[in-house]
Symmetry: C2
Subunit: 304 residues, 2 copies
């Protein structure tokens, strides 16, 4: 089934202990699409400036990523710069130039309005709400957000959450949004704000899914010796996860678990190279092989 993604398309300038890149392809909608398109067709909505080289997205076309919703506006493309610390767990933002993204008002093309699945990447909750007002009864809506909106646009965020099926959020954001230091209690509080399923991203510690019936599924991160650049790992995770759910169409509980491991699988590839370099041409065999390494790495027998 098709997925509508609305979010940033960016040019990132990133420094890590392992190198640096300038004006490299990035943005939540791009990372998401690169991962999700291994499983399902994508309809992308975003904005770039006149300086953007569309050829950089050409690898997505054979994977059924529809770019008709990518607006080209007068001005420069959104640029972000960041520097990661030695262990890649801390980062400083060097600059954020919103440029054309500042005035971004997502317009959903008619051809996209009946998308089955919707992923609202990390943009202002007011815009996320506006997107939902433009589409026709989607099957499933997933949303990402961040501390910036929890602090500055909490009312709007609380208006959009009841319309959301799946919230994908990191552990510190759970605690912040729920105003609760216990992660499990926090997830329960957030479920009462609307989303049926909470996916808690914990970076190098993996992810935890809290289902509608308040049961849990925990997945580790893949233990990598050579991480290069964590930028986009969260959106890539969301892409693998939602992409696989859309492939299933009517996902069962077991499908949700598989989907979470596909998200973890894709994000483990993402961080191995700068920008989207590793997501350009993965084979289905590579994806399945790493997926099964997750399986090997977690399986054990029940108690007798």
């Amino acid at each position: 089934m098709s997925i509508l993604v609305v979010g940033s398309v960016a040019l990132d300038t990133v420094k890590t202990p392992f190198g640096e890149v300038t004006d490299a392809l990035g943005g939540a909608a791009v990372y998401f699409s690169a991962a999700a398109s291994y499983f399902s067709p994508i309809n992308l909505v975003g904005v770039v400036g006149t300086d953007f080289d569309e050829n950089s997205l050409s690898f997505l076309k054979p994977r059924n990523v529809d770019l008709r919703g990518l607006e080209k506006a007068e001005g420069k493309t959104f640029r972000w710069g960041g520097t990661y610390g030695d262990d890649l767990n801390s980062r400083d933002t060097d600059f954020t130039h919103l440029n054309v993204f500042q005035e971004f008002k997502p317009v959903i093309p008619d051809e996209y309005k009946q998308s089955d699945f919707i992923f609202l990447a990390n943009i202002a909750p007011e815009l996320q709400l506006d997107v939902l007002n433009q589409v026709t009864s989607p099957k499933l809506v997933a949303l990402d957000t961040m501390n910036f909106w929890i602090e500055g646009s909490l009312d709007a965020l609380k208006q959009v959450l009841p319309k959301v099926d799946i919230l994908i959020i990191n552990d510190s954001e759970v605690k912040q949004l729920a105003e609760e230091s216990n992660l499990v209690k926090g997830a329960r509080i957030i479920q009462n704000m609307g989303p049926k399923v909470i996916i808690i991203k914990k970076g190098e510690h993996g992810a935890l899914m809290v289902s509608e019936d308040f049961s849990f599924f925990a997945a580790p991160a893949y233990p990598l010796e050579d991480l290069c650049d964590p930028t986009g790992a969260g959106d890539t995770f969301a892409g693998g996860f939602i992409g696989y759910l859309a492939k299933c169409g009517n996902p069962t509980n077991a499908d949700y678990r598989q989907a979470l491991i596909y998200g973890s699988t894709l994000s483990s590839f993402c961080v191995e190279k700068f920008s989207l370099d590793k997501l350009v041409d993965l084979s289905q065999e590579e994806i399945a092989e790493r997926f099964n390494q997750f399986w090997q790495m977690t399986k054990f027998e029940p108690a007798k």
Copy 2:
């Protein structure tokens, strides 16, 4: 098979957001024994002062914990005091009174010298080495240590590590001992110091086992809504883990995985109440039930 444990017996004064206890039973050897004795007989070596009430350990006797190696010395019992922060992930040490533990020189009773498994809890590496010199060809040796010894007694620690089969250590200590910010590379460096298996404890994020062939097994922590007191969770984890290995006798790779989940199971009980209150009278059914919740919480199907 029998397990020799050498470590502290203490009286802890602990404050958490959920209450406080004064001079409550604690110490690495006690937490370890309480957990391990659900699986295997224990020979305990430690020291207490004349102020210690031995009745507080009487719950261990029906579980085959031999206390003949618990020395009673002139003076006061080791006391530790600590206060935990709101999310229980940070703690301040209020005081450490070593008392009789200051002069502790472990003497292994003749009846203990042929113990099959040995757990060297977190004490000075020189003493850990001394214990190994007193025993007769154990089947398996496991060791815990901490930042204090990595900083202050690194040479002695590097002398004992080649004699150790399993190192049980937390994630920050791996990075410190290996002088490497990547956890996986760090584990590889430490394997080259001697231990075949590295068990990395990550607190609320679970545990990672790195096996002799450098394969991984990752386990989550149990998602608890009501944590009370994290004191002793690491030693309880070690107790469940080594206790189950000793029960197996000649553990296979699959047994090591089960053992890690038993460690996680026991430590999840430990933190639910203060001191050892929750470890006093668990039933085998309760343990198996929670173990199987770990199984439910992590299982998924391999990729086709």
